[in-house]
Each structure stands twice: as structure tokens, then as C-alpha cells.
């Protein structure tokens, strides 16, 4: 059966249909999960898409983390379920404590909307399983707060545990260690600033995001959790 991907919709999310379309184009089943719902039952994977959840008031993700659905997302993640946060979704996952670090305003205080090249650093996470390490992918970014930061101890831990999943080839936003995406210790929760769903169709100018979304669908279809 096609894996069922829940796409979490907060007020102010704006990439949910892109994610839905991309998943369904690759043979998955996708459904929107409203943030006020306290359950994600029936989902094999969750995507927290991009946008401006709760208007990005206070800080991106700061209010979203209190949405009722987030307890269910945390429980799903704790059970090993694959969870991917894209852009604003990544910010929500860091605010919720499901991923370490924080996303600060970009270096130079510039909003960046451009295609970037990212290198796959790990092939054993929910979003990159089976994707050869070193693969370079052209994927758009579109953010003001994408400058990944964390304290020195956390960075050392991320490196030692091989939890840096994607790195920018040419750092666009000042992220520490060129980090574009990280995962949790269980490797089933991944956050990234680039938008693979916006590089999933020839019409969009790049299909480089497809390998990542296909990896997510493979993870979702697997009988046992990653890691």
C-alpha cells in the first residue's frame, strides 16, 4: 500500500499543497493534518511544510510548537516515525525541541530566495536513506531565518554522531558549518531549510528534490523505524 504522509497545516503555512502534490506525484498518499488536531493516527510519515506558522510572531515556530498537534508529532517521533520539517517546519521542530539548535536571521539580514546546491552528507536518515553521500542537489531556499546556529557542544555532538544531513556547497545564509539540514539522534526526525518539494517536477526547473522525497516514502513504507 502507498505510504500515507500527513502534511501538518498551521495557520499561515503556505507550502502544504506543494508538499501534497509532490508526495502524490511520487506515488504516496498525502493528507492535510490541521494543527488543532491532537492525533496523527494513520500516518506513516509527517511533513511540517514551509510558510509562516502563526504569522511567525515572536519567532518562527515559537507559537506553533504549542499547537495541539505537536504533542502527537512528538509522540510519533518518539516511536520512530519519520518526521521531516521543511523551512518553517524545520524552525517549528527546533522550537519544539525535536531537533537541536535554532534558525537565526540570515547573515547580512537578507531574505534569500534562490536555488542553492546542497550536498548529501548522510545516507541513513529518514530523508536520505539510500541517497549516496556526496550527491549534490540543486534545491531552492526561500527564507529570512535560515541561519542555523547552536552552541559549540551541540555542534561537536552533531559532528560526532554524524547528524549533519545536508550541507550547502556555497553557504547562502551564514549557517554554522554550512549546515542546511540536521537530524535527531534516532535519525527519524530531519529538518532542512531547502524545499525539496519545489524541485520535484521538470516544470519547476529542477527535479533534484525527488531523491529526498522518495527516500522519505521508502522510510515511511519500511516496517521498522530507521536507526
Amino acid at each position: 500500500m502507498a505510504p500515507r504522509v500527513g502534511v501538518v497545516l498551521f495557520p499561515g503555512t503556505n507550502c502544504e499543497y506543494d508538499a501534497l502534490h509532490a508526495v502524490e506525484r511520487l506515488g504516496g498518499t498525502a493528507e492535510l493534518v490541521w494543527h488543532g488536531t491532537a492525533s496523527v493516527s494513520g500516518c506513516d510519515a509527517l511533513v511540517l511544510p514551509g510558510g509562516f506558522a502563526h504569522g511567525d510572531y515572536l519567532r518562527p515556530g515559537a507559537i506553533a510548537r504549542f499547537s495541539p498537534v505537536m504533542d502527537a508529532v512528538a509522540a510519533f517521533a518518539a516511536d520512530g516515525g519519520p518526521v521531516v520539517g521543511i523551512c518553517n517546519g524545520f524552525q517549528v521542530l527546533t522550537e519544539a525541541g525535536l531537533l537541536p539548535g535554532a534558525l537565526q536571521k540570515n547573515r547580512g539580514l537578507r531574505f534569500v530566495c534562490a536555488t542553492t546546491v546542497v550536498r548529501v552528507e548522510r545516507d541513513d536518515t529518514a530523508l536520505t536513506t539510500g541517497v549516496p553521500v556526496g550527491t549534490e542537489l540543486a534545491i531552492p531556499i526561500n527564507h529570512f531565518e535560515g541561519n542555523y546556529t547552536c552552541d559549540a557542544a551541540t555542534l561537536a555532538e552533531l559532528r560526532a554522531e554524524d547528524r549533519i544531513v545536508l550541507r550547502y556547497v556555497d553557504n547562502p545564509n551564514g549557517s554554522v558549518d554550512d549546515i542546511a539540514g540536521v537530524c535527531n539522534a534516532g535519525r527519524n526526525v530531519v529538518g532542512l531549510m531547502p524545499h525539496p518539494e519545489r524541485a520535484s517536477d521538470p516544470l519547476l526547473g529542477s527535479e533534484d528534490g525527488v531523491v529526498l522525497l522518495e527516500a522519505l516514502l521508502r522510510t515511511a513504507a519500511a516496517p521498522t523505524p530507521v536507526g
Binding site: A62, F66, T94, G101, A102, Q104, K105, R107, L109
Partner: protein
């Protein structure tokens, strides 16, 4: 109700030392245009004010600290300073 009091709270949130503050730096770079070249260490942050009801001042500080630490500031990059005062004389 007899044993509760009103407090006014101010929470100031600033980026932690060592975290780049491009906004503060940009403001600082603009100051020479005002003819002021002795202003240094500019830091940009946020300020929040709210009222709360609590039995004691220490309870008010404890509640305000929860608000500051769990919502208003992201401890990964920010630190907060909480100031609690009894509400105005009419309270």
C-alpha cells in the same frame, strides 16, 4: 482573592553573548551619521510587558520566569531578564 496581588512584569530578551547580532551591528554602523562616534556595544532585542496575579512577589517572579524561559526567549540563542513590580497604588 484576598491573598492575591497584581504585579506588572517586564521581560527583556537579548541575544546571548557570542551570538551574532547583525541588527545591533547595523544600528551601530548608522550612528556616525548622527555625529556620534562614541556609542559602542549596541544590542537589539525585544521587550514585553504584562500583568499577572500571584500570591507573593516570589510567586510572581516564578510565573514570569516560566513565561520568559518557555515562550518569550529561545534559550538556544537568547537570554531574558525579568523585572517584577507590584502593580500601581490602586491595585
Amino acid at each position: 482573592m484576598a491573598d492575591t496581588r497584581q504585579f506588572s512584569v517586564q521581560v527583556e530578551v537579548l541575544l546571548r553573548d557570542g551570538i551574532a547580532d547583525p541588527q545591533g551591528a547595523t544600528i551601530e554602523r548608522a550612528l556616525p551619521a548622527l555625529g556620534l562616534d562614541g556609542v559602542t556595544s549596541v544590542r537589539a532585542g525585544k521587550s514585553f510587558r504584562f500583568d499577572l496575579t500571584a500570591a507573593t512577589e516570589s510567586d510572581a517572579v516564578a510565573q514570569a520566569t516560566v513565561v520568559a524561559d518557555r515562550l518569550l526567549a529561545n534559550p538556544v540563542i537568547e537570554e531574558s531578564q525579568v523585572t517584577v513590580r507590584p502593580a500601581g497604588a490602586t491595585a
